[in-house]
């Protein structure tokens, strides 16, 4: 490249007017001729980083001193000519307006006669880099770390695809929100609580059954005791009453017999014709027949009434109504008992539907509507509660015993009603035969009219007496029938013995005495009540736990549905992981969700780490690595060991260059390593001897040479592609000893060949008297020295292709 600077006005600042197109250019001149200022101007012309703070006085002075000028660059790759017109004052004003550099800093900026479209276009064409020699190796390494931090900030972070990061963050956030709504642990605990409540209720049901069975057993024993007591007490009373009654009947029967005989004798004595006697005897037979029938019917009626539980013929209708009512209730209860299993199953089928509806938020919606009554509407929740109560009722007590008892009661009531139905016909029959008695007595009275009055009166009296005794006998027979019925109901004596034996055996089995039975029965009754109450409580717990478990299932199903159908989660369908599916059991769904959730939580954590990664590495480079190298207290340590290893590796690579190694470490140096903690370089000499040396201890000449490698290496890290680059090596000529110049020249030429777009400008202070050297040499060398002496005399600087003197 050839750089030409044409000044249109005198700005005051000295500048080098031309840098010729040599691969490695030597610019040598006295102090103050503008060597470094020219490089800085060219840095601005290439929009490369330059060392001015645009708000500083130095920047103002620099701009003012430039005046108006044109910089022309030719010999470029990918372009013929770059032309930049600058007005220093205008550039200063533009810099104050924009801060960072823009094309407005130039009056004109053209490439091959066409205005440049952007600074990026300029930067892609040309880069100007200045390497200062007055910086040490350690500082160079620190700057290298700083430069890496700068590149991360300027070139990596803006290129991260923040829209993609934002999209990914939104997707992860949506999924986290969805999966965050359930807790596997809580669901597991609630499921376990439901299972436990179910087990406890089953245990409670068993306990209640046991308690009720115990109560029934003791109840049965108590009934047996009571029965025995009844037999013993009431049976004796009945026996006594029957004995008395039998005696009374026998007495009345005897009186009746006597009365009948007296009547017969009186009739025979009073009647004087055979015909009348025959008629009287006929009337008498009619009477006896009718009286016997009345007596039998009275007996039968007493037995029927006793069996029907009716004490009085006047209460028959009331008794019938009562029996029919109880029979209807008994029959309904019997149907209910028969239906309990079926109804329990029906409720078991309905309850999950009700619970699911409640879980879906429909709990307060009306489900049933009554035509009238205080509860016109039944909500889903209310119906669910009613079903639970009914289910508990059906579960509470075994019904077989009640069913057996009920069957007997129904049969008894039916028999009683059948008996009641017989009462009316019996009464009618008895009334008919009583009328026949009256007829027979009336006939006898009519026949008496054929006798004298005294005889007739006597017969009338005897017949009245006999009738009274007949009626009394019928009455007593009826009473005996009632007592006999009651006595028969108590059982025969052998039955009593069997009952007593059975009671003794059962009490023995229970380990109880008859005296302990009442207390035990009370305790069993209380225990059954307690178990029933406990079961009610357990049922409430189960219902609550089961409802919670059902809600969990519904929530789980909703999450799975959302993952399957919501477009926000479409991206997870391509994940190489088993996702929960609607057809899976809740346990499987939960396992798949847990796996996904765990992955998501880790992904979120990594995402957050990635977000802070770049700032962390920047801090690690600047506030950690750089600070440490500069002897400052580090304030960041993000990945510091890794960063240090990287920089050590970079430094090692400089010293591993064969030319550098030979120059600084001697021939045959191997196993080179750099330790930035101790700031030492270590290697093995050709003889295999381990050597090391502090980096700071390298001589100034050695430092400058190594430093040059380092700084050029730093430039090679630039990631942005640029077609042409001018590298100015400034301010270190004084440190490069003459004996190192040869190696430096070789190294720069080597660099130039491997970086064809680069041109190197080596800036050196004038340190030799070239006129004297010309006089001391001959031939081409003398001629060169004379040209150099003349250039210095004319311009105070000289420019030539770099070569070692």
């Amino acid at each position: 490249m050839r750089f030409q600077i044409e000044r249109h006005s005198s700005g005051g600042l000295p500048l080098i007017s031309e840098i010729p197109e040599f691969g490695v250019v030597r610019l040598e001149g006295y102090n103050g001729v503008g060597k470094s200022l020219t490089v800085r101007l060219l840095q601005i012309c290439a929009a490369s980083p330059f060392p001015f703070d645009v708000e500083s006085q130095a920047w103002r002075s620099f701009c003012t001193g430039l005046g108006r000028l044109t910089v022309t660059v030719t010999g470029l790759r990918e372009a013929h000519e770059l032309r930049l017109d600058i007005d220093g004052e205008a550039m200063f004003e533009a810099s104050q307006a924009t801060g960072s550099q823009t094309l407005d800093w130039f009056e004109a900026a053209e490439m091959d006669g066409q205005p440049l479209r952007s600074l990026d276009e300029l930067r892609a064409l040309l880069s100007v880099r200045r390497i200062s020699g007055d910086v040490g190796l350690i500082e160079t390494l620190a700057e290298m770390a700083d430069e890496q931090a700068r590149l991360i900030e300027a070139q990596v972070e803006p290129g991260l695809g923040h829209d993609k990061l934002g999209q990914a963050e939104a997707l992860l956030s949506d999924l986290s929100e969805q999966l965050g709504s359930y807790s596997s642990q809580l669901m597991g605990e609630r499921q376990a609580a439901a299972s436990k409540a179910q087990q406890e209720r089953e245990t409670g049901e068993q306990a209640l059954r046991t308690a009720v069975t115990r109560l029934e057993q003791l109840d049965e024993l108590s009934a047996m005791v009571a029965r025995l007591q009844t037999i013993d007490v009431e049976g004796q009373q009945l026996d006594d009453q029957l004995t008395r009654l039998e005696a009374e009947i026998a007495e009345v029967r005897s009186q009746l017999k006597e009365a009948t005989e007296r009547l017969s004798d009186a009739e025979k004595a009073s009647v004087n014709t055979q015909e009348l006697l025959r008629q009287m005897e006929s009337a008498e037979r009619s009477y006896k027949n009718a009286a016997g029938r009345v007596r039998n019917l009275t007996l039968e009626l007493a037995e029927v009434l006793q069996a029907a539980g009716a004490d009085d013929v006047n209460q028959l209708e009331r008794r019938r109504v009562e029996l029919q009512g109880r029979l209807e209730q008994g029959r309904q209860r019997r149907v209910e008992l028969d239906a309990s299993d079926a109804m329990g199953k029906l409720i078991d089928q309905l309850q999950p539907l009700i619970d699911a509806a409640i879980a879906a938020g429909l709990g307060e919606q009306p489900l049933l509507a009554a035509a009238e009554g205080p509860l016109k509407q039944w909500t889903v929740v209310r119906l669910g509660e009613a079903l639970t109560r009914r289910r508990d009722e059906l579960r509470q007590v075994p019904n077989l015993r009640e069913a057996v008892q009920l069957d007997k009661q129904i049969a008894d009531m039916e028999a009683a009603l059948r008996g009641l139905a017989k009462v009316e016909p019996l009464l009618e029959q008895r009334s008919k035969w009583q009328k026949k008695i009256d007829d027979a007595l009336k006939l006898s009275s009519e026949l008496d009219e054929q006798l004298d009055a005294a005889a007739a009166e006597k017969l009338e009296q005897l017949r009245d007496e006999r009738r009274r005794l007949d009626e009394q006998l019928a009455q007593l027979a009826g009473e005996r029938a009632i007592l006999s019925h009651r006595r028969d109901a108590l059982g025969a004596p052998q039955e009593r013995e069997a009952l007593a034996k059975s009671l003794a055996q059962k009490l023995d089995e229970e380990g109880l005495s008859e005296q302990e039975l009442p207390t035990e029965l009370t305790a069993a009754s209380r225990a059954a009540d307690n178990e029933r109450q406990a079961l009610g409580h357990l049922s409430e717990i189960l219902r609550s736990a089961a409802a919670a478990a059902e809600r969990d299932k519904a929530e789980l199903a909703a999450i799975v549905r959302a993952l399957e159908s919501d477009n926000r989660y479409a991206w997870i369908k391509r994940l190489k992981v088993a996702l929960p599916r609607a057809e899976q059991a809740p346990e499987e769904q939960l396992a798949a969700l847990d796996q996904l959730k765990a992955g998501l939580e880790l992904a979120n954590a990594r995402f957050d780490s990635f977000r802070t990664l770049f700032a962390g590495v920047r801090s690690g480079l600047r506030s950690g690595l750089s600070a440490t190298l500069r002897g400052l207290e580090p304030t960041a340590n993000f990945r510091l060991p890794e960063l240090q290893r990287w920089l050590e590796s970079e430094a090692k690579s400089w010293f591993s260059d064969s030319a550098v190694a030979k120059a600084l470490l001697g021939d045959g140096a191997t196993d080179i390593s750099v330790d930035l903690t101790t700031k030492q370089i270590a290697w093995k000499s050709a003889s295999g001897e381990a050597r090391n040396k502090p980096l700071e201890a390298l001589s100034s000449g050695e430092q400058a040479f190594a430093f040059t490698q380092a700084r050029l290496a730093l430039l090679s890290q630039e990631t942005r592609r640029v077609a042409n680059r001018l590298i100015a090596l400034d301010e270190f000529g004084a440190f490069v000893s003459v004996n190192r110049m040869q190696e430096l020249a070789g190294y720069l030429q080597h660099w130039r060949h491997s970086h064809t777009g680069d041109q190197i400008l080596l800036i050196l202070p004038t340190s030799q008297d070239y006129a004297a050297l010309a006089n001391a040499t001959t031939g081409q060398q003398a001629e060169r020295y004379r040209r150099m002496a003349q250039a210095l005399a004319d311009d105070e600087y000289l420019v030539e292709q770099f070569q070692v003197d």
Partner: protein, 53 residues
């Protein structure tokens, strides 16, 4: 003064950063620089890598 030309491919990653990236971070960075990839791909890569651990 700094240049502002964002990198567009993984090879442009500054060496200090490249030296300290984990394999996962490197892959994610490559995905962010890939013009064919979108936010779905980034989220999926994050979750899949987490699940594979």
């Amino acid at each position: 003064m700094s240049e502002a030309s964002p990198i567009s491919k993984p090879e442009d990653i500054p060496p200090a950063l490249a030296a300290v990236l984990t394999e996962f971070e490197r892959a994610l960075l490559a995905l962010l620089l890939d013009p064919e990839a979108d936010g779905d791909d980034v989220a999926r890569r994050l979750v899949e890598d987490a699940l594979s651990d």
